[in-house]
């Protein structure tokens, strides 16, 4: 087992502790932001564990967990928690309905895709994020060395494609960008906006730094995932671990109570009172 294969297990452990801590905060405060963060983090942890598992062995239901929770939903649910801090709750409740329906629909589409998985292409030596999608080759484009290809009909044309676990044109893959765009906007955008507000008012320096860390953590996994899909999969597990650590430290720092007010005695002219 290589160091790269061990990293997702560390990420999973961090996310497990992080999730428990966030749910404890929810139990104590009853703030829905903590509930959605907790659910998003649990999804992140499940995705991370699934990835670790799939670096050792194949199981189609572990792949189901990895794709649905790790690749599609977790960023959106995490970001939705942040939305509860920034927008009027009545509006957020409406978006919650859309998020739940959308997530159930994605789960349904994923279940539909399960019998069609091309399990024969799977190998443990490559990250699952480099193997999940079947990719049609453009005219003149050649398949990477060692890649398995298939010639099939797609959108009325005969195409050659690099085989992946999910067949070409699987509908569930169309839902992922929606969730990820929403997650990026709300989680990273929300953290950047919060940091900016505190910074502009020149108050709560710990929350400025905390939000910078949260944004950086969320961006690091977004970047690592994008690099993986562009063929640089070696950064993925490290990106996940960095993301888990940065977000954990950021959330802990943001939740830390502010220092008690310092009582200062000062001479003030009576007219100023």
């Amino acid at each position: 087992m290589s160091v790269n294969q061990i990293l997702p297990f560390f990420s999973t452990l961090i996310m497990l502790g992080f999730t428990v801590w966030v749910f404890e905060r929810f139990a104590a405060r009853r703030n829905p932001a903590f509930l959605f963060w907790g659910i998003g983090l649990a999804m992140f942890g499940a995705g991370s564990f699934a990835e670790a598992y799939l670096s050792l062995a194949w199981n189609k239901w572990v792949f189901f967990v990895w794709y649905l929770f790790g690749a599609a939903l977790n960023a959106a649910w995490l970001g939705h928690g942040t939305l509860y801090l920034l927008v009027h709750r009545r509006w957020v409740h409406m978006v919650t309905g859309l998020l739940v329906i959308g997530s159930l629909f994605a789960g349904y589409l994923m279940l539909q895709a399960m019998p069609k998985l091309d399990e024969s292409v799977f190998i443990t030596s490559k990250p699952v994020s480099e193997q999940y999608g079947t990719k049609a080759l453009e005219a003149g484009q050649t398949a990477p060395a060692g890649a398995l290809t298939i010639t099939t009909q797609y959108r009325g044309k005969e195409v050659t494609a690099v085989r992946g676990l999910l067949p070409l044109g699987t509908p569930v893959r169309l839902t992922t960008p929606f969730f990820n765009i929403y997650g990026l906007l709300t989680l990273v955008g929300g953290a950047i906006y919060s940091a900016y507000l505190f910074w502009r008012k020149r108050v709560m320096p710990n929350r400025v730094i905390a939000n910078v860390l949260i944004a950086a953590g969320a961006l690091s996994i977004g970047l690592a995932s994008t690099l993986t899909r562009l063929g640089y999969g070696q950064f993925l597990y490290l990106g996940e671990l960095v993301s888990a650590i940065l977000m954990f430290v950021g959330f802990r720092m943001a939740a830390r109570p502010q220092p008690d007010e310092v009582v200062v005695q000062q001479s003030i002219p009576a007219s100023a009172d």
Binding site: F178, L184, W199, P205
Partner: protein, 51 residues
């Protein structure tokens, strides 16, 4: 003599390189990166980038 309450520890320190230079640069860079990733995801959605 009057007693006022101040909260000196919860204010951003003045002339701090971290808060005057590094934080704004980080916020702008991360904002641009986020916009880039969203644009990329939108291109995937529209079929302009094939995954």
């Amino acid at each position: 003599m009057a007693v006022i309450r101040s909260n000196s520890k919860s204010h951003i320190p003045q002339n701090s390189v971290l808060f005057e230079k590094i934080v704004p640069i980080l916020l702008i860079s991360m904002g641009l990166l986020t916009a880039g990733l969203i644009l990329f995801a939108a291109c995937v959605l529209l079929g302009l980038v094939h995954f």
